[in-house]
Amino acid sequence: MSEDITRRIDRSHMRISDEVAIDIRNMNKWYGSFHVLRDIDLTVHRGERIVIAGPSGSGKSTLIRCINRLEEHQSGHIVVDGIELTNDIKNIDKVRSEVGMVFQHFNLFPHLTVLENCTLAPIWVRKVPRKQAEATAMRYLEKVKIPEQAGKYPGQLSGGQQQRVAIARSLCMQPKIMLFDEPTSALDPEMIKEVLDTMIQLAEEGMTMLCVTHEMGFAQAVANRVIFMDQGQIVEQNEPREFFNNPKSERTKLFLSQILGH
């Protein structure tokens, strides 16, 4: 699968700048007394495409959910786009409107049409006029290749289509950073490809992306860095070729043998 993807990737826009998009320092998080994230240090530069892998329960989803504060961290610092995440709701909303998120279960709004899903946040958060928001939404729906579904409700679409709408919905806010939380895990194998294609296209355009996924082909083809997490810690991070061919830690080797073995 990896060769299949690599062959057609256009890397001309995938430049990583020196500018820091996300800076996480010494961050810890507990659920009650359970220590989910331990001493996380992570700096993401603009234009980076990071894949976070790891066994379930390793805290990878929690980590990216901390970046737009769907989860609260208890110690350490998270600075996103120059704004530190604290209890200040204004700052949180500002960060959230700059950071797009795609969920495992899509989380489209079932009572709104596809187009309304895409225009809601631009109209109510960014105060974009409706006409303009609709034009933008149609542009992104074309980009994810489902403009003809604009008038339908999410319940009438297939899983893959719903996930592409969810990506378009995030893009309509014109975010600087995109977070993907296992975007293909709830999809049928036939639909995974259409979603990955959309994500690759985004990467080609230079979007800063953090992606929790088990799609190692995608990681090899698109990521510039793969992070491996286990038991709430970053165990290993490296550029993909080195990561897959020459893993350093025993835990990573075990994980890779299990996930690539079959």
């Binding site: 737009n68 769907l70 709701i89 909303d93 500002k94 959230r96 409107s97 950071v99 797009g100 998120m101 969920f103 279960h105 899509f106 989380n107 489209l108 709004f109 079932p110 009572h111 809601l120 946040a121 109510w124 958060v125 409700y153 319940g155 009438q156 919905r169 995030s170 806010m173």
Partner: protein, 484 residues
């Protein structure tokens, strides 16, 4: 196997079988009977038993209904007619009481020469409801408004409404019909003004009262705009406090002064003249209109992260739900007078409306909380992730879905509340079921008539409640988004 290529195994189908028709076993009616009524021994026994019970009931009541008398002056007159027509000892219903006391059941002791005012208020209620209840269907709005127009104007004319008011009602109704074709959302302005108009039509008095009430929110809005630049918090507080101060301190005097300069009064009708369905519908509509928003606020408060807000909501809901409505009504009618400063007159119907509203709001809050809890967490997260703040997320994402889920429960609460309006009999108001029927029986001509008034009032209640139930089913169908 003719459509497979038996000679070229492995098997590849290249011709598709045409779809076959379903097997035809039995004719429709016979099959239906077999499947639904006589599918087995137990079902057969139950069917026969059911038929026997129905037969027993119908045979018992049939001649009572069949011997109905609609034209008579008194109960004894009724009995005489039945005896003459059907023989001595025959039983029969005496619906003549409904015919003779119809106005009393509908309007209570409202002055007959002013019957046209509640009638107009009721007709205009449909103008206020049309954009809210039937916002998506031009056809239904057209039918409802056209019917309301014709019936209201006809009844008002029959009841001798003054020409000026006939013109007013005609202008509003026909105007609403025209506006609803193009811009139904404009009618919402009327929906917002309707409560004050309705109160004025029903109770009469000076129009300056409602106008001065309306000035309150306008002043609040002005305060909010002026202070909004300084601080959002101060502006919000001012927007709430300014109208309250206006209503409590200034509005009464302002209305009196304005009235003495330009009189806008129509004959006043005191609350003790209200009765029958006029009273029930007044309390019911007011309670329904106010308990839904209050219930939403309470439900949100109970799910709030803020300790104080949450605790207050829990205490309120649990207290109100734990106390019988009748106890609350007694509080409204007796105790409230002790707490209020002496000399304040606080209308009894208004007090009852407040109590009924609080009571059903507590139930409503729990119903809506169920809807909120049923929403997947992902919906909240998606709204958060897009940067919507709490109120926008609630208004645009959470409540539309939670309320949709709660429709059956909400309408059940409405229906229960509407039927509970008959309990106002305990605080001396003339509800249609008990007090009004007692009042009817108080006259010598209808002394001793029990079944007919109760059945009649029950039937009217059933019609209204059944209507609400059907509307809720229509709404559920209209809002279904899953499989279209």
């Amino acid at each position: 196997m003719s459509e497979t290529h038996a000679q070229t195994v492995p098997f590849v189908r290249d011709t598709m079988l045409p779809p076959a028709a379903p097997p035809v076993r039995e004719a429709g009616a016979v099959r239906w009977l077999r499947q639904n009524l006589f599918s087995g021994p137990l079902n057969t026994v139950l069917t026969i038993l059911g038929v026997l019970i129905v037969w027993f009931l119908v045979s018992h009541f049939w001649d009572w209904f069949a011997h109905s008398v609609w034209n008579a002056d008194s109960l004894s007159d009724c009995r005489r007619i039945i005896a003459e027509t059907w023989g001595e000892g025959a039983r029969g219903a005496c619906w003549a009481v409904v015919r003779e006391r119809w106005n009393q059941y509908v309007y209570g002791f409202y002055p007959p020469e002013l019957y046209w005012r509640p009638t107009m208020a009721f007709g205009l209620l449909f103008v206020a409801l049309a954009p809210v209840l039937f916002s998506e269907s031009v056809m239904i709005r057209r039918v409802v408004l056209a019917l309301a127009t014709v019936l209201t104007l006809w009844l008002m004319a029959v009841m001798g409404a003054p020409a000026a008011w006939l013109v007013f009602a005609a202008a509003v109704l026909v105007g609403a019909l025209l506006i609803s074709e193009r811009q139904p959302s404009w009618l919402l302005v009327f929906s917002i003004l309707y409560p004050l108009m309705g109160v004025w039509f029903l109770w009469g008095g000076s129009a300056w009262g409602p106008v001065m009430v309306l000035v309150g929110p306008v002043l609040g809005w002005i305060a909010w705009r002026l202070l909004g630049r300084a601080s959002a918090l101060v502006a919000t507080v001012a927007a709430l406090v300014v109208p309250l101060v206006w209503w409590i301190v200034f509005a009464g005097d302002a209305a009196r002064d304005a009235e003495s300069i330009v009189s806008l009064a129509i004959p006043a009708v005191a609350s003790d003249r209200f009765g029958g369905f006029l009273l029930s519908i007044t309390i019911g509509v007011a309670g329904i209109a106010m308990s839904l928003p209050l219930g939403i606020v309470l439900a949100l408060a109970r799910r709030s992260d803020m300790f104080l807000v949450k605790t207050l909501a829990v205490i309120f809901i649990e207290f109100i739900r734990g106390v019988p409505l009748i106890a609350l009504l007694f509080v409204a009618s007796l105790l409230l007078n002790y707490f209020l400063p002496p000399g304040t007159t606080f209308d009894i119907i208004l007090r009852v409306i407040i109590m009924v509203t609080l009571f059903s709001a507590a139930y409503m809050a729990e119903v809506i909380r169920g809807g909120l809890a049923a929403l997947p967490k992902g919906q909240y997260e998606a709204a958060d992730a897009l940067g919507l703040d709490y109120w926008k997320a609630q208004r645009l994402i959470v409540l539309p879905q939670a309320l949709k889920i709660s429709i059956p429960g909400i309408v059940s609460t409405f229906i229960g509340m509407f039927k509970d309006t008959t309990l106002v009999t305990f605080v001396g108001l003339y509800d249609p079921l008990k007090s009004m029927s007692d009042a009817v029986r108080a006259s010598t001509s209808w002394k001793g008539i029990y079944w007919e008034p109760y059945i009649f009032v029950g039937f009217i209640f059933f019609l209204i409640c059944f209507g609400m139930s059907r509307y809720s089913m229509y709404l559920e169908r209209r809002l279904a988004r899953d499989h279209r």
